[in-house]
């Protein structure tokens, strides 16, 4: 790898990479994200490698493993450039066909194209697929083009040019001003203005300051930071470099959660390559600016997503938050002024420097600028990562991009904001998604998790799930969070077991209020949101559990019973899987369930091909 000592070197490098790239006729890019790995993309890549070598095509065709393009559900994903042919659910045995048809003869392989379920037609390019059509993929778009383990790929898409611009054409104060005017707000959930944070940190006296990238994405259901860190780590590094230069920091840390091994690995490779290229280290691009980055690994504690807990964890201590009366920009890592931003926030910085704050602020709403990446998951047809301008409605995301309901059951609610957010009912899906609108509805945009729930989801069970989640993740330092959540959990346990009484709901609401008002950190302060929003919008469901001892969604095991209806064809599949031998019936005759033996595991319902197993 060459060492880049000046802006000229960087430009020359980009030129050389681009001229080398045009020599290759075609690019086969295979998604190597964690989702596609689960579907076996490594084998697909291996098959391509073997086939290309056997046919002596390695010189003409580039095989690339990229980051996540977002449409995880259809993985493994393969895109062929320059024609932009998008193949989905590719198996190793499809590889030969792709090479002989598409690579050698320029024809598309019909059965691997995405099929539009409404129009019933096959779609060639990703941009025309409804899932992608309404998206604005400013950040994620680069994932499709870049092999994250090759710094050259990032340099080829004007990577590190924003850093050069910032170092040589802008003063630190001008950079901060630019970020302030862009209106960029923290993508981790709180939405604090990034430029303001930088400015406050810069103002603090002292020579030693730090920048931190928060990649401890703990909100269940959110994985955009993982996709960015895995797929385009250099964009995050470039953002950190620019930020560090602006506030006057020479050392940065990336805190990666333990559950993201690939993000950790790719960030490590990116740091090493940037160091070798001279883009990290001393006297970067001959500007006199020194900066380096280290990775700190998390330990599986949700609370470490909170800034002060995260800092404690980097320092090698137990991740307990402290009171934020003194902010981290003043007293952060090892007591020094520290700027902490989340992965997506950092990744936006090079874009703003490249295209200008005016351009950036033209996207989004009045108070929420730019795009936001959401992870659209749960009971919705198209699941994956979705990047849209802020201000788009929940309905557009769930129906236009997500394709609506998944199993023929009506969509009931969408959970946003992770354990700090809440459940928004289907009647409010016209709400725009930005930093402020969802808060009024009792939830929040948060870090961007969007879990769609249909009629098969019990809202009492969801509330219980979040309370238990938070109770387990509470660090235990302050009493309201530690004890309050435990008691709230007990009340919800009682209700879902059919032992709830008339006072439970008001007690729950009262407790929730106390926990929210008196907890020390964000975890406890927002912990009651999932419960309060569920009670607010789905009270009848709670009441059915309490008064009629019934779970309308058929989820809470003590309140349900399985039975087999007339549609039963007598295939015997259910009897075969039943672990307690509770199903009887002759071949080709309607089967029935022996209630006293049934363990309510639901296996029979899972295997029944004619949907004859009912829950009441």
């Amino acid at each position: 790898m060459r060492r880049i000592k000046s802006v000229k070197d960087l430009e020359k490098w980009e030129e050389d990479i681009l001229s080398k790239q045009t020599r290759h006729e075609m690019i086969i890019s295979v998604c190597g994200g964690t989702g596609c790995q689960a579907y076996g993309c490594q084998k697909v890549k291996g098959a391509f490698q073997k086939e290309l070598t056997q046919r002596g095509m390695r010189e003409r065709v580039t095989l690339k493993v990229t980051g996540c393009p977002g449409f995880c559900e259809k993985g493994p994903l393969v895109t062929i450039y320059p024609q932009n042919i998008f193949y989905q659910k590719v198996k190793p045995e499809d590889v030969r066909e792709i090479i002989s048809e598409t690579i050698q003869n320029g024809r598309t392989v019909e059965h691997l194209l995405y099929e539009d379920p409404i129009a019933n037609r096959r779609i060639v390019s990703a941009a025309d697929i409804p899932f992608y059509r309404s998206q604005m993929r400013l950040l994620l778009g680069q994932n499709d083009l870049i092999d994250p383990t090759h710094i050259e790929d990032y340099v080829a898409v004007v990577g590190y040019q924003s850093l050069a611009e910032a170092l040589f054409k802008m003063k630190p104060t001008e950079i901060i001003e630019e970020i302030k005017t862009s209106g960029l707000r923290g993508r981790g959930g709180a939405g604090y203005p990034t430029g303001k944070k930088w400015e406050d940190c810069k103002k603090e006296p002292g020579d030693i300051k730090y920048v931190i990238c928060n990649c401890d994405e703990g909100d269940p259901g959110a994985f955009m930071d993982r996709a960015l860190m895995e797929g385009n780590p250099h964009s995050v590094l470039e953002g950190m470099l620019i930020g560090a230069y602006a506030i006057g920091a020479n050392q940065g840390f990336i805190y990666v959660r333990h559950e993201y091994p690939l993000a950790h690995k790719n960030a490590e490779i990116a740091i090493q390559q940037a160091r070798k290229a001279g883009l990290l280290g001393e006297n970067i691009l001959d500007s006199g600016f020194d900066f380096d980055v280290e990775i700190a690994k998390g330990g599986g504690a949700f609370v470490c997503g909170e800034s002060t807990a995260l800092i404690a964890s980097i320092e090698g201590r137990v991740g307990e938050p402290r009171s934020k009366q003194v902010r981290t920009v003043k007293h952060g890592l090892w007591g020094k002024p520290t700027t902490l931003n989340n992965v997506e926030t950092w990744a936006n910085v090079p874009l703003i420097i490249e295209k200008g704050s005016k351009w950036f602020s033209s996207i989004g709403t009045e108070k929420s600028k730019g795009t936001k990446i959401f992870s659209l998951v749960g009971q919705v047809k198209n699941t994956g990562l979705v990047e849209v301008p802020m201000g788009i409605t929940l309905k557009e995301i769930i129906f236009d991009i997500g394709g609506g309901q998944q199993n023929g059951r009506k969509i009931k609610a969408v959970q946003t904001g992770g354990p700090s957010g809440g459940c928004i009912p289907a009647s409010l899906l016209h709400l725009p998604v930005d930093f402020d609108s969802l808060t009024q509805a009792g939830s929040m945009m948060g870090s961007g998790g969007m879990i769609v729930m249909d009629e098969g989801t019990c809202m009492v069970d969801v509330a219980k799930y979040f309370v238990h989640f938070l109770q387990e993740e509470s660090c235990g330092k302050c009493l309201p969070c530690r004890e309050g959540l435990k008691r709230m959990g007990e009340i919800l346990d009682r209700i879902t077991e059919g032992k709830g009484n008339d006072e439970d709901l008001s007690l729950l609401e009262e407790l929730a209020e106390v926990v929210a008002d008196t907890s020390l950190c964000g975890l406890g302060k927002t912990a009651p949101n999932p419960v309060l929003s569920a009670v607010r919008y789905f009270r009848p469901e709670f009441e059915a559990h309490i008064h009629q001892k019934r779970c309308p969604a058929g989820v809470c095991t003590p309140l349900i019973q399985y039975s087999i209806g007339e549609d039963c064809t007598g295939c015997g599949a259910c009897a075969k899987v039943c672990p307690t031998k509770a199903i009887e019936g002759d071949k080709k005759q309607t089967h029935h369930i022996l209630v006293e033996l049934c363990s309510k595991c639901g296996s029979c319902k899972d295997v029944c091909k004619v949907n004859a197993v009912m829950v009441q």
Binding site: P220, G298, G299, G300, R317, V377, Q379, C601, G602, V607
Partner: protein, 158 residues
């Protein structure tokens, strides 16, 4: 237990106390769990109180103080996996392995763990078996995976 590797790991991090979490991760990767001896060694090398080391080792969920089974089964119970039937799979796994999450089977073959989110939500419910991800799980597929691992051990044909 041969603790030479613990020494080398602490050397690698230049005895830095701030690297404690990374050190513990490396020790666990090497020995599959954090033994009392290993923790005492880390404490003496970093000149830290053993209580403090235990505090960190027990606070973070990624660390385990008991030996792990040959196969590690990790079930994701994040929100997306939860609404798509994660708890049902957990019930199945508990029944099959006769253990609660966080425990190892008596024959030391399986360790069962649950996590709050593996970040592969789009293809949930997700299960990780020996570091390999499996998407779109259900109780029947989970059962098949366990049976396959069991058969492998007994040499029976799957």
């Amino acid at each position: 237990m041969d603790l030479k590797s613990v020494d080398l790991i602490v050397d690698k991090y230049q005895e830095k106390r701030t690297a404690l979490i990374s050190i513990l991760h490396d020790v666990q990767d090497r020995y599959k769990y954090l033994s009392d001896d290993a923790l005492r060694m880390v404490a003496s090398r970093l000149r830290m109180d053993i209580n403090e080391i235990y505090g960190v080792a027990t606070f973070y969920k990624s660390f385990t103080l008991v030996p792990q089974g040959k196969h590690s089964i990790t079930l994701c119970l994040g929100t997306a996996c939860h609404v798509r039937g994660g708890p049902k799979i957990l019930r199945e796994l508990k029944g099959l392995l006769h253990i609660e999450p966080g425990h190892t089977s008596a024959d030391r073959q399986f360790s069962l763990n649950v996590v709050n989110c593996l970040g592969v939500c789009a293809i949930g419910p997700v299960m990780m078996v020996d570091r390999k991800f499996y998407g779109e799980m259900n109780s029947i597929r989970a059962k098949r995976i366990i049976e396959k691992l069991n058969n492998k051990r007994s040499g029976a044909r799957p």
